[in-house]
């Protein structure tokens, strides 16, 4: 008679294994093996659902943009019309606002990349862990503070009675208006976007082998030539990715123009807000919102076509 394996032998399997077995059986019931080829779709289903909800919202906005406001009832008129789009196109104000948004986004990208590149380069190349941590801390401390709070910070710092004017007063300079202008809005946007740009640039710079730069130097290139002919071209995916993210965020920004612009430097998002919430004209607000979506999409499409998707392509084909 042989010894039969009793209950004790089952304990050879750790508890964790048995839990996992149970979970696998449960998953097999919920998601049979025959459906395994669809597992990938299952995993991206939540993301697809989110996109579908966004598309549905966009569709409703598009529908809303085709009705003018009936001011006798403050309800959208029943008739379908392109009148709201005509209003946008015929308005010198809106065209000015569109132009200001585009130029503001462009300048923000230029200045942000100019500042972010050396910062990210130093972050990646420094041999000192202390310096790297210090750079990260300096970069991320303002990142944890909301955009509105940061804008208020600039109101305090740059105001007529602010820190900067106080400092200027010490050397005999009379207080000057530093706030409520287009340059101030761009300044605020650059400061806000800097961490985003550094975060997107750093991986691209990390991927450039230091030996490549050393090799260029050993062949006689000075640092400027190395930067221009080696580092910048190899960092292009990072620059494109960072530029795109900064451009789209700046183009659609609301808080900085509202708070640092003194009411006269509106971007498109501010105009959309005015129509939705100030004049209750949701049709016109919807038309402006779609113009903003179209501008952003065209901008991104043009950059993709000209330079590829950069780091946003995640290593895939252009």
């Amino acid at each position: 008679m042989t010894d039969m394996p009793g209950p004790v032998s089952r304990l050879r399997y750790p508890l964790g294994w048995r839990v996992m077995d149970a979970l696998e059986r449960g998953a097999g019931i919920l998601w049979p093996r025959a459906l395994h080829r669809l597992t990938g779709w299952l995993l991206i289903a939540p993301a697809l659902l989110l996109v579908a909800v966004l598309c549905l919202g966009l569709w409703r906005i598009a529908q809303g943009s085709l009705h003018v406001l009936d001011r006798a009832t403050f309800l959208p008129a029943e008739a379908y019309t392109l009148e709201n789009y005509r209003t946008v196109l015929d308005s010198a104000t809106y065209l000015k606002i569109v132009w200001r948004s585009l130029s503001g986004a462009f300048l923000t990208v230029v200045f942000t990349l100019l500042l972010a590149f050396p910062y990210a380069y130093m972050l990646v190349r420094t041999p000192s862990p202390f310096v790297r941590k210090a750079l990260l801390a300096v970069l991320f401390l303002p990142f944890f503070i909301g955009q509105v709070v940061r804008a208020y910070g600039w109101l305090i710092i740059l105001g007529n009675s602010g820190v900067v004017n106080d400092a200027l007063g010490l050397v005999g300079v009379t207080p000057m208006r530093l706030l409520f202008s287009f340059p101030t809005v761009v300044f605020g946007l650059v400061q806000y976007m800097l961490p985003f740009a550094v975060l997107l640039l750093a991986p691209a710079l990390t991927a450039i082998p230091r030996e490549t730069e050393i090799a260029a130097g050993s062949l006689g290139a000075n640092w400027l030539q190395v930067l221009w002919h080696v580092t910048l071209p190899m960092a292009r995916p990072g620059l494109v990715g960072a530029g795109l993210v900064v451009a789209t965020l700046a183009l659609t920004d609301f808080a900085m123009p509202a708070m640092l612009g003194g009411g006269s430097q509106d971007f498109i998002a501010n105009a959309v807000y005015d129509q939705f919430f100030r004049t209750a004209d949701q049709g016109l607000g919807s038309a402006l919102a779609l113009v903003l979506v179209a501008l952003g999409s065209v901008l991104v499409g043009a950059v993709f076509a000209a330079f590829g998707a950069g780091t946003l392509a995640m290593g895939g084909k252009r």
């Binding site: 010198a92 005015d274 919430f277």
Partner: protein
Amino acid sequence: MKIHDTGVSRRAILRAGAAAGGTALLGTLPATRLWAQEPQKPAELIVRAWGGEWVEALKRGVSDPFTKATGIAIRHDLTEDNEIQPKVWAAVAQNRVPPIHINWDTTTNATKSALRGVTEDLSDLSNLAGTSELSKPVGLDGYPIVNTYGYVYVLAYRPEAFPDGPPKSWKDLLDPRFKGRIALYNDGIGFHFPAQLAGGGTLADIPANMEPCWEFCRKIKEQSPLLGEDPDFTAWFQNDEIDAACTISTNALAAKRNGVPIAWTVPAEGCKFDTDGLWIPKGLPENELYWAKQYINFAITPEAQQVWLDGLGLPGVVPGLTPPEGLAGDPSYPTKPEDFEHLIRVSAKVQVENESDWFARFKEIMQG
């Protein structure tokens, strides 16, 4: 008072309401006796309000005494009036319970909601009998809104910037020394009508011909004005960013009470006079609607008005209120017929129908 297309006489505005029975005080009667047979009380009512000094005054004058009398807690929702509007409209359109019970709103904004049909009728409030005609919204049937006080968009200024005395005309703001030192609301509200007169136009031309207004706005634009909202004005005065602003007198008063050196005046062309009110969105359960109405009914008692409007420094809709200290005879606190002579009132209907165009035109000039 310059009244344009309102159908309301100065005398009528100031006439005392009758029916003393309607002014019975909620706060002086025991809650259990007063509402022994009333519908079930909700745990709380949500009242949308403006923040800062505005909500503090409402709390002292209306909300706290109402809670004391009824046991119903009042939650103040500080969502901006313009932002709550589409939420309420959407809730009513979708047959949902609205996000607030009572909306403290400008009469112009509230009129839009009334025209859209999302407001409950408040004609059955007993205390309306004790109010002046100012409480009645002009151009609307019944009481979809109850106006609760009036206010003036004064010309507030820093006395040290005007050493020769208060500005006598809105045109004084065109002095080059005020370049970059004046402020207006970012949609121009409160400024359009005096600008119409300062630009050489007449009130009778509103809304058909507002070109004098826009011409004056273009001149003001050359002065690089700052454009903002209520809280901005106090901050700008406090931080020495501006010397003068067209703002509601309450904001100027709040700044003064906070130690900011500020005064205000009604220039020769006059100032816009308008009203705010309370209304209830449709879609509330019956018992909550009942208690929301009681809240508004209480807000128009003399006792509630006295404390609430002492805080705001504004004239109410109940006759016989005592002006807050220092405001008796002040141009921002009109009570007598002669006080209204330099104030401009345009009907909510005209404003509602044309406001979007005026805002757009003002923006067009100021965004240049």
